[in-house]
């Protein structure tokens, strides 16, 4: 384990007053929501979430290793200041949190982009090229668009299946290459078999309200008669509020699933440590069943993306899935 974990495990938790902690957490969440309103701010949130995962993972790992001690729940990381540990520079004490948010945010954005672009870019080009060809009636190459889209789906399912655990592993290890440790991530996933399936199910389930939030503006005149008679300022105010609410929900979902993934990672690592490097040999039937189920679960997310695009198309929505990649939802009506 790297220094990251040591620095992210706050030593002063037990001395804090619970109500102050709660208030502090709420404040940090509120800052996170506001930061998610811009792409650059969302990168900081990515880093902050990685730090949160590392803390969560560290605490759970300690609990599992030392069941006799009652370890406190970790607080949410600071946005700006660093943790007050001996030997740290003044720069780190004052700005350590922000520096880590930037560093880990960029690292996380890189790995998430590399982990999702193989399919999301295919979807983007498939959609653009396919409909461009269809519009121009290019019968001769009509197969290209659908074939690229299906290829993207084929690539997406295994990559999405490993993504939560890979991200938790990156957060735990504090290095980019951990995200791409395919064999190790697979072994970790096996250790927490059905729990991991449940986590993926929750992620996909939690994405439904975001899918609904993306689709609902299409029907705005049905649920808000006369909406289109509003002036530009009123529409802008509505769009901003709508987006803020969707972003707050998104952040809540992210905090929950990222924490859950970190806990599963700690549990899986603990089991793996006790079993040697290869881990327990799971039954092939159980592994196959879980694989099929995970594929089906993630296919529901793919379907959400496609149906959402049919209903309310946004180019950016092909390559950024806020619940998985950059936690940024564009303003309704923006050209993106």
């Amino acid at each position: 384990m790297t220094d990251l974990l040591a620095s992210e495990a706050p030593p002063d938790l037990e001395t804090r007053v619970p109500i102050a902690r709660r208030f502090g957490s709420l404040l940090r969440l509120a800052v996170a929501v506001l930061l998610c309103l811009t792409p650059l701010g969302a990168v900081l949130v990515l880093g902050w979430l990685m730090r949160m995962m590392a803390r969560e993972r560290a605490v759970v790992a300690r609990r599992l290793a030392d069941t006799g001690t009652k370890w406190p729940r970790p607080s949410l990381p600071n946005w700006v200041v660093g943790t007050a540990t001996q030997g740290q520079s003044r720069r780190h004490r004052w700005f350590g949190g922000m520096i880590e948010n930037i560093r880990l945010g960029l690292a996380s954005l890189l790995t998430l982009a590399l982990g999702t672009f193989p399919f999301s870019l295919l979807w983007l080009f498939s959609w653009w090229g396919g409909w461009e060809n269809s519009f121009n009636k290019g019968y001769e190459q009509a197969w290209v668009g659908p074939a690229l889209g299906l290829l993207g789906v084929g690539i997406a399912l295994p990559l999405l299946t490993r993504l939560p655990m890979a991200l938790a592993h990156q957060a735990a290890e504090g290095r980019i290459s951990a995200f791409f440790a395919f064999g190790h991530v697979r072994r970790l996933t096996r250790q927490v078999g059905w729990r991991y399936v449940f986590l993926c199910f929750l992620i996909v389930l939690s994405a439904f309200p975001l899918f609904a939030a993306k689709s609902a503006p299409v029907f705005v005149e049905n649920w808000s008669p006369g909406f289109l008679s509003r002036n530009a300022a009123e529409v802008e105010a509505f769009a901003s509020g709508y987006r803020l609410a969707a972003t707050a929900y998104l952040l809540l979902v992210l905090v929950i699933w990222r924490r859950a993934a970190a806990r599963l990672h700690a549990r899986a690592s603990h089991r793996l440590d006790g079993l040697g490097t290869t881990g327990a040999r799971a039954s092939w039937l159980g592994t196959a069943l879980r694989g099929l189920l995970l594929g089906a679960i993630w296919f529901v997310l793919v379907a959400q993306i496609y149906v959402g695009q049919f209903v309310n198309h946004q180019w950016l929505a092909w390559i950024n899935h806020p619940v998985l990649v950059l936690p940024w939802i564009p303003q309704p009506g923006s050209v993106l």
């Binding site: 019968y139 005149e221 289109l228 509505f238 198309h313 564009p330 309704p332 009506g333 050209v335």
Partner: protein, 386 residues
């Protein structure tokens, strides 16, 4: 045509309709001496902003060249009634019958979008009142709009298939081509088997057997089309340009008296490329101009042909969407359309500055042609008539 002639035409059409014989016996009706009519559906679904509003239009010929030749009706709407859908086949039926909700699902598929009119179409009124052969009443459809193949006649008890229009579309051409190949056993056994299979697949989409055969004149045109463009379907114009080409061929070879061309390509905007919408509008604008030029260049059609240009529906103007061009959700903008009438007997250079309804198009066309569109709900826009 002045108002007196207009009234006389209506009167004579009623008399003609009375002499028209029983359903299923066309041919006993009067000879038609009125103007030819070309209805252009500026579909599928366009907003006023990108078509008739100066400064934002992508149809400059429509606005600057054709509109001054007739009467622009900028404030036409599709009525806000329960069950009225702002969509393509629905809007086309509104135009053809002069009524809303005058359709039902064709065939047995209750959830499909293959609609057939339940009220008489303009084609049926026309052929019932006058002795006009089917091949001179034409519906020209896009090949990927199979559901519009069923709009050539309704199921009203006093009208119907006996007074149908013929349909020109690449779907019909494929049917003809495959039947011709099988009838003449052109190709190897394998090729003939493949043709039979393809034909069976295409025929299965024809729920009510409307495309079993076409008039000999249509068959002859398809023969010419085959000789000119070949068999593979890759050399003829595609998309809405194919409709224009079919329209031009029809003018040359079939001499239609009533023709409706159902353009569709702006509807590609559903899938996110806003440029498909604006490019398709520009393409229809060019093609409409080609059609008008062809009519103007033909001594028999020039000065004896009325054009009616009307969208099937509008599109949304939803500021909350990146691509605000849907049309299925009953928004105000999807109900907002327009119409342009020009040709002999129509006022020139005017804008009808009052509300009009899409259901008025059929009655107005009826008035121009001297037809009594008895089942149409909309009123004829007499203000347009000289």
């Amino acid at each position: 045509m002045n108002r007196r002639q207009f009234s006389r035409a209506i009167g004579s059409s009623v008399a003609a309709a009375g002499l028209a014989g029983l359903p299923g016996q066309p041919g006993a009706a009067a000879r038609y001496n009125g103007p030819n009519v070309v209805i252009v559906r500026f579909g599928g679904g366009v907003r006023r902003r990108e078509t008739i509003e100066p400064g934002t239009t992508y149809a400059p010929r429509l606005l600057n060249v054709l509109a001054p030749r007739g009467v622009l009706v900028p404030n036409m709407t599709i009525a806000q009634l329960d069950g009225v859908d702002t969509s393509h086949a629905e809007g086309t039926v509104n135009v053809l019958t002069g009524r809303y909700r005058a359709y039902r699902h064709a065939g047995t598929d209750a959830v499909g979008d293959d609609l057939e009119p339940t009220e008489p179409t303009l084609f049926e009124y026309f052929r019932r009142a006058f002795d006009v052969p089917a091949h001179q009443t034409l519906l020209i459809n896009g090949e990927d709009r199979l559901q519009e193949e069923f709009l050539s006649y309704g199921v009203h008890k006093n009208h119907g298939v006996a007074y149908r229009s013929e349909v020109l579309s690449l779907y019909r051409y494929k049917l003809w081509k495959l039947r011709d190949r099988l009838d003449n056993a052109r190709g190897t056994d394998e090729e003939l088997q493949a043709a039979a299979k393809e034909l069976a697949g295409l025929e299965a989409k024809d729920h009510r057997g409307a495309a079993q055969s076409q008039a000999p004149e249509i068959d002859q045109m398809w023969r010419r089309w085959q000789i000119f463009y070949g068999d593979d379907g890759l050399k003829n114009p595609r998309g809405d340009a194919a409709l224009t080409e079919l329209g031009l061929w029809a003018l040359q070879h079939l001499r239609p008296r009533l023709m409706m061309i159902n353009y569709q390509d702006p509807d590609y905007v559903h899938w996110g490329n806003a440029s498909h919408y604006t490019r398709a509008i520009a393409a229809i604008d060019r093609d409409l101009h080609r059609l008008v030029a062809a009519v103007d260049a033909d001594p028999e059609y020039r000065d004896d042909t009325v054009f009616v240009v009307v969208p099937d529906c509008g599109r949304d103007a939803n500021p909350l969407l990146s691509v605000p061009f849907q049309h299925h959700f009953n928004t105000r903008s999807a109900h907002e359309i327009w119409a342009l009438f020009f040709g002999p007997g129509i006022a020139r250079g005017r804008v009808l500055d009052k509300p009009a309804d899409q259901s008025s198009v059929a009655a107005t066309v009826g008035a121009v042609m001297g037809l009594r569109t008895a089942r149409a709900e909309g009123r004829a826009l007499e203000e347009l008539i000289l």
